[in-house]
């Protein structure tokens, strides 16, 4: 099922100038995300500077940890409006784990509002389960997006989270995962693709997601 080096095969030289920015707001696994992007063929910019964000061709919002302190950190760095602006510009955006949850309007994790880009809220996984939901779980894809190109409709990805998103518009959920309840593990809307799992920790198919994201970003950048 796997072509060994596919996600890591060399990219065309034109991709070298692609500005893929990983948002640095002191929340978690930036290095893992950057390494996965390097494996996918680009040298990402890791930055928390709103000016750089505005100039990026594509943005990844990673994140582990607590939602309320993450929003606080984004606020402190003046990144809230620039992030909303970037997403509204139509350029490719990838949210990972907390980076998915922050897109919503509110979270049960704290009182601070989230980015409010996607209508809906973030809820805590129900009591009685082992939390965090940690490990490899099945993602059932029911929709398409360029960033999921060639990813099988059923594939395993690595999860670590205690909260999940509940978007108001059901059709935005294009991947679901079961952990006692079925929750949205992949959300897509136009230029946004966001995953509850960590593609940078999900082996082959995870790297494929990053590679697809980079290729998609290059196509969009070339067309604009």
């Amino acid at each position: 099922m796997k072509a060994e080096l596919d996600p890591a095969s060399p990219l065309p030289a034109s991709f070298k100038s692609l500005k893929v920015l990983v948002v640095d707001y002191e929340s978690g696994n930036l290095r893992s995300v950057a390494k996965a992007l390097e494996k996918a063929g680009v040298s990402p910019i890791i930055s928390g500077d709103p000016k750089e964000l505005a100039l990026a061709d594509a943005v990844i919002l990673p994140g582990v940890g607590a939602g309320d302190s993450a929003m606080e950190a984004l606020g402190r760095r003046g990144l809230v409006e620039p992030l909303r602006g970037f997403v509204a510009s139509g350029r490719p955006f990838l949210g990972v784990c907390l980076g998915l949850q922050l897109l919503m309007e509110s979270t049960e994790e704290g009182d601070a509002p989230c980015l409010g880009i996607i209508p809906g809220r973030v809820r805590r996984l129900p009591a009685g389960l082992k939390v965090p939901h940690m490990g490899w779980n099945l993602v059932e894809l029911g929709g398409q997006h360029p960033v999921l190109k060639d990813v099988p409709n059923e594939a395993y990805f690595y999860f670590v989270h205690s909260y999940y998103v509940e978007p108001k518009e059901e059709q935005l959920t294009i991947g679901v995962t079961e952990y006692s309840l079925k929750f949205c593990s992949v959300l897509a809307r136009d230029n946004i693709l966001a995953t509850q799992f960590h593609p940078e920790k999900s082996g082959y198919w995870g790297l494929k997601v990053y590679r697809n994201f980079v290729e998609h970003a290059a196509l969009v950048a070339a067309g604009s």
């Binding site: 939901h133 490990g135 395993y156 790297l207």
Partner: protein, 259 residues
Amino acid sequence: MLTKRIIPCLDVKGGRVVKGVRFLDHRDAGDPVALAAFYDREGADELVFYDITASVEERGIMLDVASRTAEQVFIPLTVGGGLRTVDDMQRMLKAGADKVSINTAAVENPRLIEEGAHAFGSQCIVLGLDAMRVPESSPRRWRVRVRTGHGGGQETTLDAVEWAAKAVDLGAGEIVVNSMDSDGTQGGYDLELNRAISEAVSVPVVASGGAGKLEHLYDVIHQGKADAVLAASIFHFGTYSIRQAKEYLAQRGVPVRPL
């Protein structure tokens, strides 16, 4: 459905794997990065490096090992051994570890769990718990031991189940339960110990110590209620491959990530 994880554990000393691994060619047999890449290809769900380096001077080497591993291996990596402060944890996480495991340092200073969880999130903080049975206890009890990297370690007055529960209250996101009675025997995990802890805490429990046969993995998942199994010798010595372990568990109805 969430799958049960199979996690090979490598003991590393001064940047080299201790005991070595019998089925790789000799060039790579002691290189933790090469082994990590090998186990990743084999289908391991996560990896654990345990730094048993005694000297402080050599601790920095582990940062380099974690960093080089993170460049090549895209599954979760936990590093334990010798991490005594939040700064130690931060350096290891920045180097490329996804989780840090603390043991003796947490017993001596439980606030370390709290501070680590606050700084990096609970999902990064693994409590390593070494436990030994209290002879003739009924109901069965286990005591926590520390400094087990050097011989059998030292007994503490802590009850293993109570310590696990307390660590979770403080913010530990996962517990690796290592039975000092079973470790190295290849006679099976301590099922009672794992079950007692798994039922007492709300976070995932990783069973460690005693794997000798594939049946042991099944038993500690099924009867011991473990969420993941950690093993060293059976994989390193080539007794079983990760694939064989997964196929065996799948046949017995345990959800595993297929290869």
